[in-house]
Every structure is written in C-alpha cells, then in structure tokens.
C-alpha cells in the first residue's frame, strides 16, 4: 500500500514539472486531469468510495472534456510567448520543489498522515498552480493553473485531515465544477470577442486616463 502511495506522490511531482514545462495546452489538460485522478485514488486508501468516485469522474473526465471543448472553440493549441519562458519555468519548478520540501520540513509535526511526502507534494502543487496563473497569458492555461492550485489544496487536506465530512468535500467539488464551467463559458466569450484568448488583450481597464 505504501509503495503505491509513494508512486502516486512521485507521479504528482512529475505531472507538476510537465505542467510548467509544456507549451502544448492539450498536454497540460491531460496532466492536470491525471493529477485529479491520482488524488482521487488517495481517498480510496481511507475508504471513501463515494468521494473517490465523484472526484475521479469530475476531475478525470468532465474537466478534460470541458477544457478540450474550450480549446477547440477558442482554436488555441499552444501557450505562445508566456511571461516566463519554458526552460526558466522548469527551473523555477525545480526550485519550488526544493522550497516546498524545506517549508514542509519546518512545519510542526503532525498526527500520522497517509504519506510523509504529502505535505511537500501538496505545497509544490499549489505553488505550481499559482505560478501558472501569473506566468501564462492564455486564459485556458490560467484555468489549468487554478485547477492545479485546487489539486494542491485538496492534497493538503487529504494529507492532514483524517476524516473530512464527505458532504463538505462534495460541496467543494461541486463549486469547483461550476467554477470551471463558468470559466469555460467566459473563455468562449473571450475567444469570440477578441478572436483569441490571450489575456494580454484584457488590459483596457486601468486607473490612469488613456
């Protein structure tokens, strides 16, 4: 059991590195979905069948379907010219991994969690998500960053909280689902309005008179 949990942790770390290093949006969508499925497997270790099933169904199938649809509608394939280049991003990713491990080692000791690696991995996933949101220009990649952030928070909760009320977890899942749905619709409108979903276009609103 422990080996398989450790394997999941390693896969999560690798998927984060893929997210920051890849320019192809399809790859990013697949890897963030993979993260969702891997995280959905973890509650199985705690015997939460319902939560695991719902989480895998939504994060593993519904989100990729929605995001691929938005990708086709908006007709974007790649993240072109992000604010931070891909090799630099990858290096920042590796540095973030180091920082996450350091922070996790300095946190006060916890009650036994499902894996000692869950804390650094959760922090790393959150930092990856935040980094994607600020360093990428395509609205779609920012949504992927938001999902990675949520995955990180979710992993954190799994690692720390033995028995979260299932109803709360389901509510959170529902909220995230609606959030992605609404963001997908917004992306569709952005692509129709601007013929692209580069958020560099979204700079009309500011305080200085133009």
């Amino acid at each position: 059991m422990n080996t398989s949990i450790d394997l999941v942790m390693v896969c999560l770390v690798l998927s984060n590195l893929m997210l920051v290093g890849s320019s192809r949006i399809a790859v990013c969508i697949r890897f963030v979905a993979l993260q969702g499925v891997l995280l959905g497997l973890l509650p199985l270790a705690l015997h939460h069948w319902l939560l695991a099933g719902a989480s895998i169904a939504i994060k593993g199938t519904v989100f990729p379907w929605l995001l691929f649809r938005a990708m086709r509608e908006a007709n974007v394939r790649r993240e072109v010219e992000p604010y931070v280049g891909f090799s630099t991003s990858l290096m920042i990713g590796v540095a973030a991994l180091g920082i996450s491990s350091w922070i996790a080692s300095r946190l006060p000791p916890l009650a036994p969690s499902i894996s000692p690696m869950i804390l650094p991995v959760a922090l790393f996933t959150m930092i990856t998500g935040l980094f994607l949101i600020v360093s990428r220009r395509q609205a779609l990649t920012q949504v992927i960053g938001y999902l990675a952030l949520e995955n990180g928070v979710f992993a954190f909760g799994l690692g720390l909280v033995r028995e979260a009320p299932v109803i709360v977890e389901m509510g959170i899942l529902l909220d995230i689902f609606v959030a992605v749905f609404v963001m997908g619709i917004t992306i569709f409108h952005i692509s129709r309005e601007f013929d692209q979903i580069d958020t560099e276009q979204l700079t009309a609103l500011k305080d200085t008179p133009s």
Binding site: V161, V178, T186
Partner: protein, 493 residues
C-alpha cells in the same frame, strides 16, 4: 418548514425558475416578489428566531441575521431599482457610452435568475455555522454574480468578469487551505471527526493548536480578504464595480463585501476566544490590512477620473475602516459593526445615483458631468447627500461610527493608528469633495437629453440615505443592544 431554510430556498427556486421564463413582465414581477418575500421572512426571523438545522450547520445567529437583514433590505431596494433599469435598457443593440460600438445585453432571464441565485448564496453565507459550508457558500456567491457583471456584453465587462472570476476563485482557494489548517489546529478537540462548527470551536478555542490556528487565520484573511476587497488583493474590485450595471455594483459593494467580511469575522471570533495572544495576532493583522487598504484607496481616489471607479475605491477604503475597527478592539468594534450597516446603505445608494447619472450623461468621466443639480435635481441632491454620508460628515450615521472607531484607537493608546486614520479620512474627503461638488454644480456642458427621473430610480436611494441619516441621529435601543452584544462577542467592549 424551517425559516432559515425557507430564506435560502425561496430565492434559489425562484432563481432557477427565472431561467425558464420568457416574459420580461413576469420576470420583473418574480424579482420584486421574491425580494419582498425574502425581506419579510428576514424580518420575521427577528421576532421568531428559527431553530438550528442540519446538526447546527445552518443557523442564523445575531451576527449572521444582522448581515442577512442588510443583504435582504439592499436586495429589496435593488430589485425595485432594477425594474426601472431593465425598462430603460431597451432590448436589441445598445451603443457603448465610452467607445461608441454596438453591443447586446444578456437575456433578462439570465440576469434576473443570477440575481436571485446571488441572493440565495448570500443568505447561505450568513446562515453558515460550519466553516466548510461557509467556504462553499462564498465561492458560490462568486459564481452566481460573475454573469451579472457580464450583463453588457462587450470587451470591457468581459475583462472585468474574467478578472473577478479568476482573482476571487484563487483567493477563495487559499481560504480553503485556511479551512484545512483550522481542521489541523482543531485535532486536539476532535480526535475522531473534524467538526468545524463555529460554536464548538469558540467553546474550546483555548485547546486549539496556536501555531496552526495562526496559519489558518492568515489564509482566511488573505482568501476572504480578496473577496472583501482588502488591499493589496483588491485589484478585481474597481474593474468589476465600474463595468457591472449600477444595480449590480450596489449589491456587490453593499452586500457581497459584507458577506466576505463575515468569513473573516468568523475566523477572528475563534482567535478572540483562543486567548489574548491569538487575539493580539489576528487583531494586529486586521489593523495592518485596514490601514493599507485605506492608504491605497486614498491614492487612487485622489487621482480618479471615473466616478464609478471612485465609488469602488471608496468601498476598498471602507472595508479597510471595518477591518481596522474590528482589529482595534474596545469601542472600535461597536463602531465597526455599526459602520458596516452605514456603509452598505450609503454605498448602495450612491451606486443607484451613479446609475441615474450614467443613464442621462452617458459617460463615467468625472470631467464630463457638470450641473447635476440642474439637470437631475433629485439625483443631484441624493448625490450630494451621499457624498456627505460616505465621507463621514455629521449628521449621518457614518460620522458617528467613524468617530467610535477613532475613540477605540485613542482608548487603546494607539496614537499612530489614530493619526494615520484621521489623515487618510481627510485626504479621501478632499479627493471626493473635488469630484462630487464639481459634478453637482455648474451647467451641463452639452445638450443633455432629459429623460425625467422615474420613481423607481429615486425612491430606493432616497430611502437608503434616509436610513443612514436616521442612524446618525438616533439608534433604536434594540439595535443598540444588539450591537453591544456583537461587539462583546467579537472581543470589543
């Protein structure tokens, strides 16, 4: 049926039904009708308090009921205003006031449906006694209100909607982390289950692990603070408020920001109960964020060219004042809770008036609006009264509540905070006076098509400003007792 549940379900069902209704007349009737029923039920809740439901997860305590009453009253005013607004927004293509291109409005069914769902989610925020449920409700308010900002379907409102969605969702994701950290802090309490119920957390707060509780509070403050518009997480706020229809801006400023504040107050409440060390920690953070928000707002108000953005920054300022008041403790907490009421009433009223100005002058630029008092006598008068109310001039309620906060700062011996508070208030007064007075006086620069002022555009703001005025002259004894109780509950005196 339980009253609290009814308060949540009535607008939810009406909101879902609105999406299926095609007739605009029926939609408007549904909107106002639901608002009347909701405010009636809220008022009934004061007389016949409902029992907690779902094992105490959903329950309106005093603080929740006060905030819900504000939300409900503002929603009623907004629904009346919205009827006139929707009538004015003729169907078909519209000309943009700033750049002159053509655009469409969102279907009225979507607008009314989302408004009602927005009310329903805000009701759930007020009634949540469980931190997990509170989080779900706050995120739901974001999702229900995002389509409202995109009512005018053009690129600027789209940009505002995108920023609102993304920034608030990310902020609220951090608040979720705060939830998990709070659960960790509460492990000594609940060996077997993690019940994040406010009541039990406050009762056994001294047993919470202080290190994790501190971490949890930071994430709650940053997370819900994003939604509340505390600087430097406020960046979505001016864009959303300036691009949304005025009736939506009024609800965002007057009701939604308060609901986000409620999330922070719940967390602060646990910290206050956890002992003097934790109380000092959370209070100092609130004071810091409060002063930073006021300072940022002052800078942007002084050089503001757009009157709706000016009102938005004024909301950042007042959220800062609220955080500051709560953080200072003592009599300032009393002042802050009273100020939350005053600010909601005044700011909603100002956004209604701004909507009237925008409809006639067809510009948001402060430079291009002159002679309000002559062109729109009623709106112009309301605009001036709103200016005096929002800057905390006597005899409006805001003067009294801002004075209480100042007294709290001086009582606590925090002279620096008191001086900074006064200086920032003075700066903001100057910045707003220059714009508001200029807009009210003089003669209109170009021929303005006078459409006349309809009652639905005048009565809601007039009632709200009258309420602020009354609160400045006389606070009814039951409200006074309630405010004292709440202030004590939140660690004040």
């Amino acid at each position: 049926m339980n009253l609290t549940l009814a308060l949540f379900l009535v607008p939810a069902v009406a909101g879902l039904a609105a999406f299926a209704i095609r007739s605009n007349r029926v939609l408007r009737f549904l909107l106002v009708g639901t608002a009347v029923v909701h405010s009636g039920l809220t008022a009934a809740g004061w007389v016949y308090p409902a029992a907690p439901v779902f094992g105490g997860w959903v329950h309106l305590d005093d603080l929740g009921r006060l905030f819900l009453s504000l939300t409900s009253a503002l929603f009623l005013a907004a629904s009346v205003y919205a009827v006139g607004y929707l009538r004015r927004e003729a169907p078909g293509r519209q000309t943009d006031v700033e750049e002159g291109f053509l655009f469409m409005n969102a279907p009225e069914a979507t607008f009314v449906g989302c408004l009602l769902l927005f009310l329903s989610t805000m009701t759930l925020v007020s009634a949540s006694q469980h931190f997990g449920l509170l989080w779900i409700a706050v995120e739901a308010t974001t999702l229900a209100s995002a389509p409202l900002i995109y009512y005018h379907r053009h690129h600027r409102s789209l940009e505002a909607t995108w920023k609102y969605l993304l920034i608030c969702s990310v902020g609220i994701a951090l608040a979720l982390l705060g939830n998990f950290l709070l659960t960790v802090a509460a492990t000594p309490l609940f060996r077997n289950e993690s019940a994040l119920l406010l009541g039990s957390l406050v009762k056994d707060a001294v047993l919470l692990d202080p290190r994790w509780l501190k971490a949890a509070f930071i994430f709650f403050l940053v997370g819900y603070g994003t939604k509340m518009g505390l600087a430097p997480m406020h960046t979505w706020l001016p864009d959303a408020h300036s691009e949304a229809p005025s009736v939506v801006s009024a609800l965002l400023s007057g009701a939604l920001l308060n609901n986000a504040l409620l999330g922070i107050l719940r967390a602060h409440n646990v910290c206050v109960a956890a002992g003097p060390g934790m109380k000092a920690f959370s209070s100092d953070l609130l004071v810091l964020f409060g002063l930073v928000s006021m300072a940022v707002a002052a800078v942007f108000i002084l050089k503001q060219m757009d009157f709706k953005r000016m009102l938005a920054y004024s909301s950042v300022e007042h959220m800062g004042i609220l955080a500051l008041g709560i953080g200072l403790g003592g009599s300032a907490v009393f002042g802050a809770v009273l100020h939350a009421i005053n600010h909601s009433l005044t700011k909603a009223m100002l956004f209604f008036a701004a909507g009237n100005i925008l409809a006639v002058y067809r510009t948001k630029s402060i430079q291009d609006v002159r002679g309000l008092l002559r062109v729109l006598p009623a709106t112009g008068t309301l605009w001036l009264m709103g200016f005096f109310a929002i800057t905390g001039s006597p005899p409006f309620g805001t003067f009294f509540s801002e004075l209480m906060i100042l007294k709290g700062a001086l009582d606590a011996g925090r002279t620096f905070v008191a001086v900074a508070y006064l200086a920032l208030l003075a700066l903001i007064f100057i910045g707003m006076a220059a714009s508001f007075l200029r807009m009210a006086q003089g003669t209109a620069p170009k021929p303005i098509i006078r459409t006349g002022e309809c009652l639905s555009a005048i009565v809601p703001p007039a009632v709200l400003v009258a309420a602020t005025l009354v609160l400045g002259l006389y606070v009814p004894p039951p409200l006074l007792a309630l405010l004292r109780r709440l202030a004590q509950w939140l660690g004040g005196a």
